[in-house]
Symmetry: C2
């Protein structure tokens, strides 16, 4: 028994109208997710939208600080980020999630939380060797030295999106070209 | 989830430039937290702010659906709501949390997450017998019949705030008087 409220509780109201979306940026560490997220947020702001970047690394320090990197903890990490993204969407914001999110079923579960069209999967497709060469956080070096376990691309799986709304080749194309590509989704809003 | 599609352009409110606050509504079930939260949100919206209501009951169905009502689970529930509130604050919104949050150290931990003055504790002080008489969700009846365990005020503790920023007597005063009291915090923003 618990004290969960009955289903007739007052629905939460959207504050900013109905333009909310979740842009879900997935890809290897080093594929450029955070960089792209921040630039897309800037572009959206310039057009009068209210964006917010949910960065996986940042969430790991707060909401998900109790979680590790086992398969189940990573799955729970994505579940929570998805639930938070849903709340931001409900608030009418455009939330840009930057998170490796390697497992398809975890991403698809988030997609299933919201109405059709609200979840925009953006695949930052960058060859592992390029990401490893960039290695902006020195994590690949650590993973190769076996100082990190369960590191995506090295010791744990990345399941490529099969039908992302936006497919970016971030090994070949610069960030500004990718920003333009993402912003095409916004045309006509 | 209210995410009705609208073609209206999203206005960028000045309130997103650093006026964020967390209004943390604490009190017994039946003290009027959700009702007050929704009315305060409406008032704030009318003044051009961007509010969002985080309702504890609602969060229990999503982000915290894995948690029960043991002491440690309730503490984790408050921790997560606090972390989410911090993200909304960071996004520049005024977030109104409606959540029993019975334990002082759990509330104080949230206060400690954000800068001084950003956390506004609002104590809905309503005698237990009044809440039990109202019993809008029938939960007190269930708790008295021992169909609910760990029910605040009946079988589990409520630690009263010792120095809330706003102290409301919701057993005696109507919702509109309480809304005015909360809105005093907003004067001069």
């Amino acid at each position: 028994m618990n004290d969960v409220v009955s289903d007739d509780c007052v629905p939460l109201k959207s504050s900013l109208g109905g333009q909310g979306r979740i842009f879900w940026l997935t890809g290897f560490s080093g594929a450029g997710k955070t960089t792209l997220a921040l630039r897309v947020a800037e572009e959206l702001r310039g057009r009068g939208f209210v964006p917010y970047v949910l960065d996986g690394d940042f969430i790991r320090k707060g909401l998900c600080s109790d979680l590790g990197f086992s398969e189940s903890d990573r799955s729970e990490n994505i579940r929570r980020i998805g639930e938070v993204a849903r709340l931001f969407l409900d608030a009418g914001l455009i939330v840009i999630v930057a998170c490796i999110s390697p497992i398809k079923k975890d991403r698809d579960r988030v997609r299933g939380l919201v109405s059709a069209g609200r979840f925009v999967e953006v695949f930052l497709d960058c060859p592992l060797e390029v990401c490893e060469r960039r290695d902006p956080k020195g994590l690949y070096r650590k993973a190769r030295r076996e100082e990190l376990s369960d590191f995506t691309g090295i010791t744990s799986l990345y399941e490529r999106p099969t039908a992302p709304e936006v497919h970016l080749y971030t090994g070949e194309n610069g960030v500004e070209a990718c920003v333009l590509e993402v912003m095409k989704c916004v045309e006509g809003w």
